[in-house]
Amino acid sequence: MASGLAVLATILVIAPLVAIFIDLVYKGASSLNLNFFTKLPAPVGENGGGMANAIVGSAVLLTLASAIGVPIGIAAGIYLSEYGRGTKLSNVVRFTADVLNGVPSIVMGIAVYALIVVPEKSFSAFAGGVVLGIMMVPTVARTTEEMLLMVPHSIREAALGLGVPAWRSVLSITLRTAMPGVITGCMLAFARVAGETAPLLFTALGNDFWSTSLRQPIEALPLQIYVYALGAYDEWHRLAWAGSLVLIALIVVSVSLVRYVTTRGVLKGAA
């Protein structure tokens, strides 16, 4: 009886999830075509537009975000695992990172709006990249730490025993051994911010035209999906589904990779 309830709960949960996936694949795939990746949005009411500017915009934003979030995050992860292990400071940093992860992304967006958009008096791709980059830091830091902790201690000893300076040993031995894990962790953080809309509303803003300038407002895939989803045209809805499918594909790939690395143990050879 009780087991029945648990099974029922599982089915109840799986059902909408499967529904979401089926809807996405069904509605998204039927709208994905070459135009989607190469054309600008068509004028209102016309068919055949694409999201090329949003894809390029997302690429610009994510490049900037990674340039900020990945190095800082990896460095913070290195500190947590290699220097601060077991210390009070690192416990507090780890805790703060976890809490920061829970701060709503719209709050981050407003904070960066106040920090960059207000003094610059202009929405910009730069502000959008900064907010996404900041959001990557805690995730990258925590996964990097986790992956570095999986590297056996004996390997660090081997490097130090050769008279290799600590910094070199950390970078060329410990980090390099954990590299597959660290990279997939970064990919996961990347995929997560790739789908963020709320923090971009008041930073990158959106832009109907081509733009790659960091000083101008820029379009992004999730922003475009948001606008199109709320719009009144079937053509827009179609594009919104297609855009969502692209985002989801990115996420499926990175989640699978992380899973592969952590469970199949690409790092196992190191043990």
Partner: protein, 348 residues
């Protein structure tokens, strides 16, 4: 201890028969080049300490980010902080035209939608976690936990899109009429019904936080030592009694922690909610009526906020959301850590 009985032997001459392809050792001239080079390398203590400080600096940047968010939000919400004080969160009039701002409808909307989400999600999430840890076949478990991870990573805006085109019509055509018929007398489900509104927001939030709660619950349940289960089983308990007393009871602090973590997520969830809640700064008894949450009002109105007071009011809402989610997350993390890593006292 003595594995091979063998007489201690005196050092054998170098031309003795070597074992295993051992070649006579010759000191190569490179040896000294190598040594000279290594000696010239110095201690690199400057590089080491620079590197260490750099890593520390990046770790500390996490504090800096939190501090930066806090100061930016506080300085840019000065106008309404000064003008309305604490009453800001008690006033229910949201009237941008006359610069009169009370955030109560949004606080109410946030609380109600989140609680609704928890009511819907928690029993299901715990059911799923029990299923996954205690009775699921191994092969299926991997797939299901993979699905859970995936769902936790789907962007809010995609959930919103799905909700607009699939969930809301479904609620409007089938679920809401039923609720009105069965629970209409409570006044919580009263017409008019547009599909969008507080209830739809609660449902989509429930779907979004389910994976988070169930995967964390699963984690703390797995952390319950096997001996606890066996102890209960040894008393002659049935399987369900074992799960209830041996597992759930021992994991309850952690489960509460994961529920609160889910709450923290629901409180700040923006896009999906903004897309289906109907954006109305009103407090209505009916859950089918449009409403707004703290996060959704920022998303929906900030772009059109034309004057400083309006913007300040919205930023103050962001500040409140920031503080609330920080507190909720701290609390939840401490509870989860207490179960999965030992005492939280060291953490705090």
């Amino acid at each position: 201890m003595i594995l091979r009985i063998q007489e201690p032997r005196t050092p054998k001459p170098a031309d003795d028969e070597p074992i295993g392809g051992l070649v006579p050792v010759v000191v190569s001239p490179q040896a000294s080049t190598v040594r000279t080079f290594l000696v010239s390398r110095g201690s690199s203590s400057i590089a080491d300490s620079t590197f260490r400080w750099l890593m520390l600096l990046c770790a500390l940047s996490i504090f800096a980010i939190v501090a930066l968010i806090a100061t930016e939000l506080v300085t840019h919400s000065q106008i309404t902080l000064a003008k309305f004080g604490w009453k800001f969160f008690l006033g229910s009039a949201w009237d941008p035209v006359n610069a009169n701002f009370g955030a109560l409808p949004f606080v109410y909307g946030t609380l109600v939608s989140s609680i609704l989400a928890l009511i819907l999600a928690v029993p299901l999430a715990i059911g799923v976690a029990v299923f996954l840890t205690e009775m699921c076949p191994r092969a299926l478990r991997g797939f299901l936990s993979f699905m859970t991870e995936l769902l936790a990573a789907i962007p809010s805006v995609v959930y919103g899109l799905w909700a607009i085109f699939v969930l809301v019509p479904l609620l409007r055509e089938h679920v809401d009429p039923l609720l009105i018929r069965l629970l209409g007398w409570t006044g919580l489900f009263a017409p008019p019904d547009f599909g969008i509104g507080m209830f739809a927001a609660g449902v989509i939030l429930a779907i979004m936080i389910l994976p988070i709660i169930s995967s964390l619950t699963r984690e703390v349940m797995t952390a319950v030592p096997h001996s606890q289960r066996e102890a209960v089983l040894a008393l002659g308990a049935t399987r369900w009694e074992m799960i209830r007393m041996g597992v759930l009871r021992n994991a309850r602090i952690g489960i509460v922690g994961s529920i609160i973590l889910g709450l923290g997520r629901a409180l700040g969830e923006t896009m999906a909610v903004a897309m289906v809640i109907g954006s109305s700064p009103t407090i209505s008894k009916s859950l089918l009526a449009p409403a707004a949450t703290m996060a959704s009002v920022i998303a929906n109105e900030f772009a059109e906020a034309s004057d400083d007071t309006y913007r300040s009011a919205l930023i103050e809402i962001a500040l409140a959301l920031f503080l609330v989610t920080i507190v909720v997350n701290m609390f939840a993390r401490l509870l989860v850590w207490a179960v999965t890593r030992g005492t939280p006292a060291r953490v705090a």
